[in-house]
Every structure is written in structure tokens, then in C-alpha cells.
Subunit: 395 residues, 3 copies
Amino acid sequence: MMLDFSDLAVVDVHCHPYTRKDRLSADEWVDEVSFGGGSAEYLKAGGIAVDDAALETLQRVKRDTLYFRYMLRRLAEYFQVDATVAAVVEARNRAIADQGYAAYARSLHQAGRIETLIVDDGHPLPPVNLERFRAETGVEIVPIFRIEVLIQQLLDEDSGWAKFQRAYDEGIALALSEGGYKGLKSIIAYRTGLDIDPGSRSSDQGMIALEKIRRARGRGGDAIKNLRDHLFCRAIERCIDFDVPLQVHTGMGDWEVHLAACRPALLMELLRYPAYRACKVLLVHTGYPYQAEAGYIANVLPNIWCDLSEGLPFAGNAGKRIIAEVLEMAPPSRVCYGSDTYGTPEPFYTSALLGKQALAQALQDLIDDRFMTEAEARDIAKMIFSENARELYGI
Amino acid sequence: MMLDFSDLAVVDVHCHPYTRKDRLSADEWVDEVSFGGGSAEYLKAGGIAVDDAALETLQRVKRDTLYFRYMLRRLAEYFQVDATVAAVVEARNRAIADQGYAAYARSLHQAGRIETLIVDDGHPLPPVNLERFRAETGVEIVPIFRIEVLIQQLLDEDSGWAKFQRAYDEGIALALSEGGYKGLKSIIAYRTGLDIDPGSRSSDQGMIALEKIRRARGRGGDAIKNLRDHLFCRAIERCIDFDVPLQVHTGMGDWEVHLAACRPALLMELLRYPAYRACKVLLVHTGYPYQAEAGYIANVLPNIWCDLSEGLPFAGNAGKRIIAEVLEMAPPSRVCYGSDTYGTPEPFYTSALLGKQALAQALQDLIDDRFMTEAEARDIAKMIFSENARELYGI
Amino acid sequence: MMLDFSDLAVVDVHCHPYTRKDRLSADEWVDEVSFGGGSAEYLKAGGIAVDDAALETLQRVKRDTLYFRYMLRRLAEYFQVDATVAAVVEARNRAIADQGYAAYARSLHQAGRIETLIVDDGHPLPPVNLERFRAETGVEIVPIFRIEVLIQQLLDEDSGWAKFQRAYDEGIALALSEGGYKGLKSIIAYRTGLDIDPGSRSSDQGMIALEKIRRARGRGGDAIKNLRDHLFCRAIERCIDFDVPLQVHTGMGDWEVHLAACRPALLMELLRYPAYRACKVLLVHTGYPYQAEAGYIANVLPNIWCDLSEGLPFAGNAGKRIIAEVLEMAPPSRVCYGSDTYGTPEPFYTSALLGKQALAQALQDLIDDRFMTEAEARDIAKMIFSENARELYGI
């Protein structure tokens, strides 16, 4: 008899808000909810003709992944229709038309027992109106603030360092004190990589780097990396001041991430640097496919958490493996469920299903291998699905 | 009841031709079909005495791996003899003597349902005569052209860049237009590593690098890397011109490969570079043991395929794990069976057996975990064993 | 019916001596036997207040890992008490009071069938008296010599290169010839990383590097790395002279290790360098979580062994996975059980239990997947638990 966690409440520690889409064609829906597989824009930029055959291939490949197959199958069960894209999309369009968008979204969230979404509203841009998102989904929304959105705004202005620095600090402080944001998020992994020099704290480094960027006419060398490293360290210090967690992207992303620069191991020197030890850091995506590195860091350093999102659900059958490898070393009290889903309500629901299935399998193995009792397994499942995130974010 | 794919036709997307060896001693056969474990030449170059004890240890260790144990056991079943090296070698020698070499090779290929071999004839050197190989094995032979063989020939000549460049382009064009080659292959991972600078396209880079190599008397610095990076980019462009795929070695090789320079993740920046997006790239060996990186790249970039060879069969029990991890993100339509076998017909057969067993196990787990139906699993198996490679190579 | 290796004798190829601790409080015992989770000192250095709440969190997290849960549960069975820290600590304190320390330690070692400990006495420092340790544990003690302890002593003196070099060579020679040490050990991974330049053999490199360190006043650049690389190469040559193995730390360590600098793959270029091929090298911790890299190296290079310690037991449920991944390529005759345990007798016992459980599971899978017979599995288990280490160390 398998463990069954379907009744457990879910806090999704990392995901993105979305705007309502009442009616989608089959292809539009696939583009909205699938992961990877390229796009017409990607092909065009590579000088590849985007004809009907190319568009058909894009659709075929997107529908081909294990992630998509699982999602489609679970939604077919939910709507009690055939497991085809056409039938599922028709069913969700009809349900929205019949019930209204908010009722539809709520029923999916409730079916997954999703109570709280901790959302990074730095994607999509321009930001989704969170009041409306909250009203439509009927779940608690806890926003976190992506520093790279602010950094880009400041880079786009023609300010000097004094102004840049003040605007950066004030922007963060405002977000955390009055903006309702409960923590910060960084995607520096996408920009200049995770090999951040811990000694980048000095404001001089920021000043010199910005000076080079403003004057460089393309010859700034490492200036942009030095600036981002400095601003990252500065963000950690703000998190310590405000006693809020920092989410850091690690591991997989989309096609723009340079995977080799995103290993969690690259962060280790920074995370243990004395000046940053007081900051609670959540390793977003637990560094998939380098999840064992993230688990290791969460073991040997005391203020590190692992977020299971993106690998779970987008890496399909990886869910059980990710959980098992993270738990090899990470204390269960340092692991949080997340989905990184976006776009429409459907993947939020199927991700929760997959997460519960994967955790049940991983913990069942641990019971069988005499690491814990069934009661301990259930306690751990509660911690991972909601309690750890609630404690970390004080919600 | 397990899935059974023993009836499925096999296209081996990456392997090597071989010359006939009618009669081998037990030790010779072990040297021919085993993987790793060192050699007398390796020890001698390290100043190690190669006495009888050393030779005995070499043999013992080669016979010790899981790969070898599996192969021996399956061949013993095939020949209906004891699972000892002596009995199996005696049986294969006798079978060749009785049936003739060609009939023997054909019967093994037919037993594995192997229909087509896509062969890199850059190993062994001098190249095997493919006409004779085709006649002896009775399977379809599709050759691919290893650019490093041509590069070495051109380096050995005393030409300047104008001649080098012309001979390189013409050599590739001739191979693809008249030589019967259906694509290119690169082992740059073995030479200067996969961190290829995508901006190496300019012919100037090739000229400057060759100039340094010709004059350097050992002080060329990065010249050889710059030259190889340039020639690699040039090869991609030829693949786009001729609309043929490029096979790129990633991950494990033999003792000469520097594993740290062979991670598929290192290739990502190059593969998404706009100028190269139209090239179909097969990540050979799917980067074992970094197969999850290869699967990830095959998900987020639209023109990337994964070849399962070498890890399967030489990493023994890894087969199921490699497939499961690749399929975490790679669309099944982007995954091809390959063996990287060489030397004699026997490993081609046992590799196909192991591949079918491993894929059956991996897909059974996916059925059990509700990712697909049994019918979908069988469709995927057909794609991986033959259809994807046939579509990719137009055969 | 599962394989059962509980009767097999154990040689622990990598662990640490300890001093007797007759009576421990629950918290003290947890600090002694747990792994990771930070410490009051770590927090203080980061400016974090170490109040009661912080201390309670440290304890809670340390008790939370799978490693700790497994150990506690097995000890509760051993003592026939409840699986709580209080009950287990009370039971071990009482047993020591009743039986005496030596009898207690011996009974635990005997329960695990632990016959021999190959100990690195470079941790803890000052070194544990091995005569007393031998008397108290009743097992055979085989010490190995950690070169970094000697290097630190020599760095602390104000000697020039001539004296440094002589003292280094003589210190090693004395340890191996008269000190009873059966091999060397290096933790260069912790210091300057495993990307050791194989060309560091020249004594000139040592001299120039030491000169810079002595004069640098903080501006020595790569001098310390160059010195350590040189001394590492020198240690390999001593191992060849004395025909003893070298243990090299790879992969996981504690919070001080920079994981990114510890991948076994980084060592590959050095290990195959002709001058070092005659040295038998044991990859300590088999590079967890990069164990597949270690297994690969042990396959393609003939004088490399893998030690399973630290991942097993400290990575909890990883044991089975580590073994399975190492055996993908490493010949079973090149794999040794180790624990890396320390502190008190209890973890030595539970690590042996976990190792036997994990190996039984891993080998059962290999039988089921037709890689070997049950008899072969048992032979391999004997090799891994004792025979390989006995052969390697000549004990």
C-alpha cells in the first residue's frame, strides 16, 4: 500500500503569476503550458524558414516530452475526457465558459489543495497585476522581488554610481517595507553565472564597474559581471537587514541559461562567507540536474533551503529522483515543494499531483530501506509541501 | 509482464567498422571486445614492468566489469555453452570455421535485429574497407566523416592557410557529395575540449592560429585550440549547406579523454548561437555520465538529438539509468540507440540485447508511474531503436 | 529473498581514530556523531547570535537527516530501546559504565564484523594515540600518513627550500619506513583543489613557490597552489618508491571544502601522466556526488581504486546509488568499503550495517538484470568489504 499525500495542503514556494486566458486554440494552449522545444522566434533568429512543416514540428516536439504526456493524462482524468490535446483544451475552454474564469481557476487549485503561491513577478513582464491574480485564483499570493528587473531599469537610465546605488538600495527597501514583497529573488545565474566573488561587497567595485559600463562602448571586459556580483552581495545584506529569504536561481532554466555557469557548487564559497551566513538562501530548482550538490550545501551550511521546482514538473519522471537525491544530505526541514509553473491554472494542478506522487514514492523507498516510519514520512511530507515554506516566509 | 522489444529492428546510430578476425585466443578476444582496464603499452610508457603478473592483472580486470560479465553471459546463451571466456571464444571460433565469417556475422546481426550501422570510419585507422565490411556483415552501412582525420592530414602537410582552408572545405564537400558520407563527426572533445568559442567563425582566426602553429616551435599557446574551434564552426556551416547532421563526441571516451572538458553543458552556448541553429547536432554518448545535461539541451534547443551509445553498453548497468535520465527532458523523438561497439560482431549483438532490456525497464517504470500507456511505450521504443535515426539521416 | 552480507568481515579502508568518551549528554552525542548542520562557532563567525533558539535549531537540524535517522534506529535495535536520542544515549552511557569502554567498543565492532580500520590520523589533531586506540577497539589498526599535516608544520617553520624539501622527503620516508604507516593520504582538494598541474614535478617549482610564500607578505599569487601541486607530485613519487597506495580526497567533505574544486574528473590528466602511472591511487569518498566520474577513471586507468566512504553513510539513502553508479564502470576488484566515521564507536557499527544493506540491494538488482549470479555477487561483496583493501594494503 502506497503512501497517499493527496489530502495535504500545498504551498508552492516558487512560481509565476499569470493573466487570464479564457479561450485558447489547441496550439496556443500547447505553447502556453509546454516547456522547451524552441519557438518560431528562435528559429527565425537562426535564419531558419518558419513554414508550416517547421511549425508542425515545433508542436509535435513540445507534445512529446514526458512532462507534457503526464500533464495531458491527468487533465484528461480531471475533465473526464480523452487524453488528447483537442479534448482537453475543449474541456478547459468549456469549463471556463460555463463556470467563469475565477471559479475554474479556484476549482483546479482546490483540487490540488494549493493554498498559497509564492510568486516571482519578475516573469512575465510587464508584471501581472497581483490583486487581480489573487482575486482570480482564490489562493494566498506571496510576492517576492526579482532584483534583476530593478537592475535593468537602473542600467537603462544614465545615472552615475551615487544615484544608481541609492536607487538600488531604496528600490529594494521599498519593495520589502511597503510593496508587500516577502523576500528577494535573483537570476544572476542567467546573466553572469553563479561563480560570484564573495569579496565583491565594496561599493568601490560597484562604482568602478558602472563607470566602465557607462564609458566602455563595448569594451568593459568583466565590468558587467563585477557590477552584478556587487549588487548580488548587496542584496544579501538587505535580506539580512530585513530578515527575509533570498531565492537564487540554480541549475536548469530555459534555452537562455548557460548550464555550465549554474551549478549550485559554484555558490558554495559565497554562501559560507562570514558576512553572508545570516542570510537564508533558497536554492531555486535545487540546481537540477545538479540536485545532489544543492542537497550537500543544505547539509553542511546551516541556512540553506532547497526548492524542488522546475525539475518537478518539467523534467517529467525526474521528480522522484530529484527528491531522493536532495534528501541524501539535505535535512527534510530544508526542502520545499515548488513548481515554477506559469501561464494557466492547469499546470499548477498537475504539478502538485506529480509532486505528491513523486514524494510518496521517494518516501516509501525510505520506509522500505528502514530510514523512517510511515508516521515520520507523513510528517516530512507536510514539512515539504507547506510547513517549511510557511516557517521560512513567516506566513 | 515486462515489455519486450526483442522483435524491434535496430539502427545503430554510432559505431565503428571492423576487420574480420576468424580465430582469436581467449586473451586476444578479451582485448578486442572489453573496455578500459589499461594495456601493456600504457604501462610501459609509465615505466611499469610488463611481466606475466602484470599481463594477468590486465586480463583479470578487463574481465571483471559489469559490461564484460553481461556480454559473456549473453553470448554463452547464444552459443549454448558455459559462461566462461574459454567456452565462448572456442564457440565463436568454431562457428566462424563452420559457417564462414560472413554467415557468422550476419547471424549475430540478425539475432539482434540489427539492420543498419551508421559508422564513424575515423576509428580504427587506417580506415576499414567499407565495401568489404558491408559484404561481410550483411547490414546496411551508412558512413559518417570524422573531421579530425582530415585536420590531422592537413596539419601534417606544410601548407599555408589559403591551401589548408581550401583543402578542408573541399575534403568535406567531396566526402558528402561523392564519398557516400551522410554526415560529419567531431571528436574535438578529445583534442581541445567542448568549450568552443562560438565566435570562432572568422577565417582570420583560422589563419592566425595556423600561422602560429607553423612558426611556433612549441610556443603556440592557444593556437591549436583556436584553429580547432574555427574548423569546428566551419564544419557546422558545411553541415547546414549540405543539410546533414553533425555528430559531436560528448562525455566518456577512453583513457585519453579529459572528462572535465567533455561535459555537454559546455557546448550549450555554441549550439544556440544564431549562426548554428539550423544544424542538426547529435550529442554522441549523450554525454555519459552527464546524460541529464544532454537531455536538457535536447529539450530547450530544437535541433539537438541524443545518442545513447558507449554508456550503453560499456557502462554495464547504467543503461536503464541513462535512458531514464535522458528522457527526463529530451523529447523521445530526439533520442537514438547507438552502441559505439567495434572490433568483432559479438558486442554489436549483446549491446542490442542490453539496450532492449534497459529501454523496456525504463519505459515500464514510466507506464507504472502513469506517464504513458503501453502502446505509447512501444511507439517510443520504435522511434529510439530505428525511426528517429532513419528520419535524421534520411535513410 | 534478499542477499544477506551480515556475516562478511569488514575492512574499513578510510576512517579516523577517536578518543574515549564514556559519558555524553544527548546534545553532546549528537554533536559527536552527526554530520553537517553548522555549529555555534560557524554562526558566531558570521555575526549570528547563538542564543537558546539557535542552539535548539542546530540540534534539530542535525537530528533531521536521513543519516541520523538511520543510525538512531539501528542503535535503538542494538540496545533494544526506543528510537529516541535520549534512550539511545542513555543506553550507550550505561553500557560503557557496565562493561567498561574497551569491552563496549569491541562488542560494537564485532557486531558489525569490523576487523580492520585503515585510519587517517591527520584528523582529529593533535593525533589520537594509536596504541591506545588499538587497545580500546580490539581491531587491527592500519595508519596512513596525511601529507598536509607535515606540510603545515614545514610552512610554520622559517626554512628555505633546501631544508623544506629535505624535511618533507625525510618526514614521509620516516613515516613509511619506521612509523608504521602503510600509505599516504592527501586532502589537497580542501586546500587548492584537484586541478593539479602534472608538470609540477620539478624541484624548481617548489623552490620558486616557497620563495614567494616566504617573501610575499600576502602577494604570493598562485604560489601556495604551485607549492602544494609540487608536493603532491613529490608524494606520488614517494608512494611509487615505497610501493604504497595514495589516498586522495575527492568530492564531498565538510563545509570547508569547495565542492567545485573536488570533482574526480579534474584529477584525470594527472593520474594518467606517465610519471605517475605506477602509483596506486584510492579516490577517497569516490568523489560523491560525482561517483560516476570516479568509477569511469577506475575503468579506463589501470591503477585506480574507489573508496565508498563518507557518501556511505553520511549521505543516508545514497549508499545503494553510489555503489550502483561506481560499478557502472569500475571493476568490482577496484572498489573498497570505507566509512570515514570518527568520534565514537557507534557510527562505525551503523555504517557497516548500512553498507551491507546498500550493497545487497545494489547487487540484487544486478542479479535481477542478469549481470551476474548470486555466487558472483557474494564474491564481489567479499572483495568490496575486505579482500580488495587487504590486497591493496598488503594486510
